[in-house]
Symmetry: D2
Subunit: 191 residues, 4 copies
C-alpha cells in the first residue's frame, strides 16, 4: 500500500540532501521519481533542490495553482513523488497528495519544517502532520547542543526578528534552528 510520508525537521537539518538521496536510490533501480519544490523558495534559484553538501538538481515547481492529483493521475510509471519545502503546500494540495497515495497508489514523500519564526504552524505542514501515514523526524542540533525543534528568523545583523509575515525569503533574513528552551529564553528577553 502506498503511503503519504512527512519527514520534518527544524531548519538546516538536511532535508534536501535526504530527498536527493531517496531519488538516487529509486533511480538506481531504474525507477522514475517526480520531484517538486516550492516556487516561492528561490534562495538557491527557482526550480532546484539544493543540498548544502553540494549536490543539486532541477525540480518541477509548485505554487497554489498546482493540481497534484490531476497531474499525477495523467503520468505513468511514477514510483514515487518527492516534495521539498512542503510547508508551503496549501491545505487542499495536502488532501490531494493523501489521495495520490491512497487512491492512485503512488507513494508521496514530503520534506518540510513545521512551524514559522513565531512558533505558528504552516497550514500545509499541520495538514501533513494530520494525514501522513508516517511521520519521521530529521534531527538537528540547537547551538546549545540539544535537539532543535523551532525556527528563528534573524536579520542581516544577526538580531532575532519577532514580528513580520509568516513567509519571508527575500532580502537579508535567514533562519536558525533552536530547541524549545532556547526559543523561549531568547523570546522572553527580546520580544
Amino acid at each position: 500500500m502506498a503511503k503519504l510520508y512527512f519527514r520534518y525537521s527544524a531548519m538546516n537539518a538536511g532535508k534536501s540532501t535526504a530527498l536527493l538521496q531517496v531519488a538516487y536510490n529509486y533511480e538506481e533501480h531504474g525507477r522514475r521519481v517526480c520531484i517538486y519544490t516550492a516556487a516561492v523558495d528561490h534562495r538557491f534559484g527557482s526550480g532546484y533542490v539544493t543540498s548544502r553538501l553540494g549536490p543539486k538538481r532541477a525540480a518541477a515547481t509548485f505554487d497554489e495553482a498546482t493540481d497534484f492529483f490531476t497531474e499525477l493521475s495523467q503520468t505513468d510509471d511514477i514510483a514515487c513523488v518527492l516534495i521539498d519545502e512542503a510547508q508551503f503546500l496549501g491545505v487542499h494540495q495536502v488532501k490531494h497528495l493523501h489521495r495520490v497515495a491512497h487512491i492512485l497508489g503512488i507513494p508521496v514523500i514530503c520534506y518540510g519544517i513545521r512551524s514559522d519564526f513565531q512558533g505558528e504552524p504552516f497550514p500545509g505542514a499541520a495538514h501533513l502532520l494530520t494525514l501522513a501515514d508516517s511521520i519521521e523526524e530529521l534531527k538537528n542540533v540547537c547551538h546549545c547542543g540539544k535537539k532543535a525543534t523551532m525556527n528563528v528568523r534573524v536579520d542581516e545583523r544577526g538580531r532575532r526578528m519577532t514580528e513580520g509575515e509568516q513567509i519571508a525569503i527575500e532580502g537579508d533574513v535567514r533562519y536558525v534552528q533552536m530547541c524549545g528552551r532556547c526559543f523561549y529564553q531568547d523570546w522572553e528577553v527580546r520580544a
Copy 2:
C-alpha cells in the same frame, strides 16, 4: 530537558491504557503525576481515564477555561503531566503546555487522535503535532488488516456518517478506525 510528547493514534488503539501504564510507572518510583482528561468526553463518565482492558482512574478535567501554565506553576513536585483526549485542547492550551515543558521544566505527555470523521484536523492536535518535541504513534489495525490512520463516525445502525459537527459524543454515534484506502473507498461510495 523536559519535553512535550504527543502520542497519537486512530480511535480504539489503547491510548488510555498507555497513559495509565505511564502513570503507574512513575508512581512505582514514588513520583507524582498529574492526569487530565477532557470534560467534553463523558463516554465512560466524566473525570475518568478508562482503559478498555478494565483499569480506570479518576482524573482532573480540562475545558477551554483551564489555564495549565498557571495551575502547574503553582504545584510542586510534579514529575509528569499526562493528558488524555488531547485533541480537545485549545490552541492556546497547547502553547501553554509547550511552555510548561520548556519553561517550567515539567514533561508533558499528551494522548489523542489527529483528525475527525471527515479527515479534518482537530486544532489542538494539529498544534500538538507542530510543537511536540517527540511525536510517537500508537498503532491499530483497520478492518482490512492495514494500519489505521483515519477515524470514521458511524450511527446507531452502523452506517457511516459524512456530515455533522466536528465533535459528537452524545447519543448513538461511535467511531471506527480505518486505513487511508478504506477511508476513501467508502467515502466515494457513500459520500
Copy 3:
C-alpha cells in the same frame, strides 16, 4: 506484507499491558490472535501474560523445543502472533518467526528486553533486533528521570548484583530499569 515487529524496552515499562491491548484490538474486529509467553518466566504463574495494571490472560508457553513455523503453518486464520518475554527465544526460533511473517504471511509482534543485568545481549533479543522489520521502543524512566535503557538485578535486600547467570527468575531477585549513566555510575562504585 506481514512484518516481524520487535517492541523492546527496559524492565517494567508495560510490555505485557501493550501486548494485551493489541490482542484486544484484533479481537474487537473478530480476528484471532495467538499469544505465547516464555515457560521459564513464572513470576506471575506459568502460562499467563500479566499486566501490572491488573488484566491478565492465559497464553501458550514456549521453550527451546517450540517449533513456531510448524505450529503456525498448521493453524488457520491467525491474524497476528504475539510473543511476550521474547528475549528468551532461541536464535533459531527468531529465524523461524521471521519466516512466519515473510513466508506464511502472518504478522508477528514480539515484546522483550534487550540486555541482561550485565549489559550483555540476550541472544534472542539480539536476533530480533537484527531481523525485525520494525523496531519500536516502549519508554520507561530511570529513577533519575531520564529514559531507562538498561536493566539491573537487585537482591532481596535491595543491593545491586553484578555476578551470576544471565537468567535468574527464582528466589528473591528483582530487576530495576536504569539509564546508561546511572548504570555505569553504580557499576563503578559497586562492581
Copy 4:
C-alpha cells in the same frame, strides 16, 4: 545527556550521505566532530566517507586495535563522534562507545547495516542494537517496491551468492538490498 545512536539500514540507503550531513550541521555551528570509518572497507579508497551523491571527506580509520575510549578521553572539545560502517566494530568497541556517551558525555552516532548476506548479525551491529539509546532506521526500497531490510551478495555476473565468509569486500562481489519476502523467495530457489 549524551547518547549512543545507531542509525541502521539495508545496503545503499544513504548512510554515508546522512553522516556527512550531520558533520556539516555540527561544523556550521563551529563545533568539532570526529569521524571514523572501517579500515577494512576500501571500496572508495581507505579512510574516506563517500556519499554516492558525490561528496566525500577523509576520516580516521578504525580496526580491531582501535581503543575509542582512550582516544576520545584524551581529546578535547569533541561535540560528536560519527562512525561509518559500524557493523565492523568489535563487541568491546561498542561497549567502549557506550561508555564514551555515558561516562565521557560525548554523543556517538553510528551508521551501519544489521545483517550479512546470509541474514546473520554482524556482532558489532547486534551489540549496537542492544546498547543504543536511540535506534533509527534509514529506509530504502527493495526492487519490488517494499522496504528493504536484508542484504544479498551478488557475484560479478549478477548471481546471488549464498555461501562464503561474512565479510567480503574484495573482488567483484557487490551487495543488493531486499525485503524479507524477496530474500526468502530467491533463497528458496537458489540456495
